[in-house]
Amino acid sequence: MEPLVTLTIDDREVTVPAGTTVLNAAKSVGIEIPTLCYYEKLAPFGGCRICLVEIEKMRGLQTACTTVVRPDMVVRTASPEVLKTRKAILEFLLTNHPLDCPVCDKGGECDLQDFVFKWGPTESRYIEEKRHKRKAYALSPLIVKDEERCVLCRRCVRYLEEWADDLQLDYFERGRLTRVDTFPGQPFDSVFSGNTIDICPVGALTSRVFRFRARSWELEKVPSVCAYCGVGCNITLDVKTNKLRRISGRENPAVNDGWLCDKGRFAHQYIDSPERITRPLVRKDGELRPASWDEALNLVSQRLREIVRESGPRSVGGVGSATVTNEAAYLFQKFVRTVLGTNNVDHLGRLPDGARPLPSMTEVREADAILLFGADTLEEAPVIELFIRRAANLKGTKVIVANPRRINLTRYGGPWLAYRPGTEVALLNGLAHVILAEGLHKEGRRVAELKEWVKDYPPDKVEEITAVPAETLREAARVLTEAQKAVLIYGPDTVRGPNGQACLTALNNLALLIGAHEPGCLAQEPNSWGVLDMGLAPHLYPGRQRLDDKVRERLGKRWKAQLPSEAGLGLDEMLKAALDGELEALYIMAANPAMDHPIGDEALEKLKFLVVQDLFLTETAQLADVVLPAASFAEADGTFTNMAGRVQRLHQALRPLAEVKPHGQIIVDLARVMGQEIGATMPLEHYSPQAVMEEIARVAAPYEGLSYGSLGDDGIPVTTEGGTRRFAQADFRPPATDAAYPLALVTGRLLYDRSPLFARSEIMRQLVPEPFVEINPADAETLRIADQDAVTVSSARDSLELRARVSDDIRPGCVFVPLHLNEMPVVALSEAGAAVTWVKVTKR
């Protein structure tokens, strides 16, 4: 407990912990002191002088933001002297301020405007010509800068230093010429650039996307959750006349703490895209033609019934997506299980069994060492990256990166373990071996067994297998074990495939050995955990209950249906069955397997009947017989469960177009047409997500007691049970190689890609890079490939035409091809279920 200090502020006695600033002490009792340069999430700066207060026995006025309280201090924040000075400072600021509030996007939510209104002069005494600086120029494609409005508080520069650690802005020139700008010839392309708009106290930095789209007072503010990645950033949807005008960060210390990445902030224009599907489409004479909902649903109902009757329920299946809400996912699996009568239900990108959510954002932020295994937070979970960068930058948190590709976080010098793809288990066993050999482990029970299991992985041998130098491995082990609070984070792809379970086991061993929290999976989709909890998987009922007789009976009673007892097919098996002609119809909700699954497009073409509900005519929807227009995340109510297992509420902010319906509504309507109620309908037959959540709370144990009322705006973490943690054997199997295809393919997501929603977001899509393949200079030299050469990347299955990017960001022997950048599916190169995809690169 810190010692307390008692002082007097404006004749009120205030007791605060020692070390508090006068400003915060005043704030704690509700006394307002204006600040421009001070921002609560940045270190005090003391540059703007507007927070000057009078302190007895101190000469002159003092800056409240940098003065630390002392016992028996007497502070006056509103004495005539203070008010006079405050007014004078505001008047001085205004002599250099253009006062173009009517055309300024900050007008109405501007600190300077508010302060002048409250404390400033009512008339200007300055009659000379004002200084002129650059106005309304593009600081970056996303940010518009007005130099005249800038009050030089340095918040943007300090934020980039302290948080984003992207030093892309700074002061230039001196005195009245001082300006904030980019370094000559350098871009301002931080993916966290948009936060500078939020923290700018004036209208010097404004958004290109929001530019002149509304005035701040016209906006209706709807709390929601970002639907791009698994972090689940809390956002505010700013709406005017049923149009989404702006997204800004919403304060929630347990999640994003008010920060956003530029993707979440700016890439929302797809909602108004003219390419949205606005009416149901039905294939007639080989072409998709507009139809009425009645016609479309009747056709779906009739065809699905026919196929079930003729070929049995096993011949149909449902594919969902982790981008839809819990409510929609729950209804979807219930529809497939009760109305279609099959357990053939799954979703794209399902997390493997045994994967666990991140401990919590707070624990990640407070960690003193982080192991990122096969994950790239910059591209997959940017706000986590922001937290890690701040911790590494300011607290010296060590970031150990295990990745064949040099990711941004390797710059903090935590060892970079650039392993060969497919050797993950050997690497992890090697780490365990070093820790045990050097006696660094914290967990002592049963280590003898583990020692036995990893005895074959001494550093030298691991170096041979994984190409990670023995010394680097030792260093990583040392860093991990020296940490008090280590957090292990892995990418979902490392624990998929044939070695996935072994890798997961090895990760668990390592975490147990160093006394860390269970390793957490960096889920990539906004609702990756939620859809599993909802039972959108062939082997799981809601609440992740296994398909045993007891559960089936209980659920059947509740759902008033005879539930299928046969095990269902997963996505891979469904698509394989479709290729073999055994699966005849698929119902796909918001997924695009034609692009995202190795055999997606061939399998879908074989189907007798395909229904797709989505926002856009994706590659999958183009193959469909019926396409149903679905609402975006801003057009429906619901909940997402984020990568740390936190259930958070989305509020409907927009009314969708007349013929567009929320995913859940479509399922309820279809079920009714097929003659069954699947619950959650209100008297007027309106789909009620709230009622669905109430049903979920009764059926799925981890969600017990949850309701929209109890979730509030900040959400609630749900805990899914993990098993007892114990050491287990993780066997390394060397991946098969292929002499004809010498290079290992590494794939990964990019933050800015050509996925359906992002690619249709007007201004943001110009930031999507051209499709490329990254290749190490050593490999490029042997293959005589130069930077920017047109090359063909081919595997035994397929080939892609790309442009070469020669860079040592990728380790030798590997090539990196980003997903979702080109028209050709990258996944088509891979054999479903292979540990490593081997390719060759040839010049075209």
């Binding site: 173009d100 509030c101 009517p102 055309v103 007008g107 106005k135 309304a136 530019r211 002149f212 789209r213 005035r215 007072w217 016209e218």
Partner: protein, 156 residues
């Protein structure tokens, strides 16, 4: 009693008729509108007109303060950015959509008062009746069109 009351009543009647007769010989103030022009004072608040500057550019910058102050919610503004090729007003911003719903407007003039650029003026046109409600929603093109009201403006 009855007689006294009757005489009193008759006297009142004659007195009242006197007023009528006196006015009968005065010059009438009724105006034979529309044949004749209406006389109004300079500060009369009629229909709004959007003003242009000396270069013919719109003065309105689409700030929306008129819409914010309007007590009857009659004004709708959507702004957009001027480009070099398409310039409507001098600065960065102009009103892409500017609409006033005359069926809602109460002609209080707050909008004119709020306007920071002097773009919006309540002028002297008052004959706004129409057969169709939608045509009473004036868009920017109509508001930019100066009206020639059938009036005589009185000296201040």
């Amino acid at each position: 009693m009855v007689v006294i009351e009757a005489v009193g009543g008759l006297w009142q009647f004659i007195r009242a008729m006197g007023v009528t007769i006196r006015h009968f010989f005065k010059k009438p103030i009724t105006v034979q509108y529309p044949e004749e022009k209406v006389r109004i004072y300079p500060r009369f608040r009629g229909r709004h007109e959007l003003q242009r500057d000396e270069d013919g550019l719109e003065l309105c910058v689409g700030c929306g303060l008129c819409a914010a102050i309007c007590p009857s919610g009659a004004i709708y503004v959507e702004a957009a950015e001027n480009t070099e090729e398409e310039r409507y007003s001098k600065g960065e911003r102009y009103a892409r959509i500017y609409e006033i719903n005359m069926t809602r407007c109460i002609f209080c003039g707050y909008c004119e008062e709020a306007c920071p650029t002097g773009a919006l003026k309540l002028k002297h046109e008052f004959a706004l009746a129409d057969y169709d409600r939608t045509s009473l929603i004036y868009d920017k093109a109509r508001l930019l069109q100066p009206a020639s009201p059938h009036v005589i403006v009185l000296e201040g």
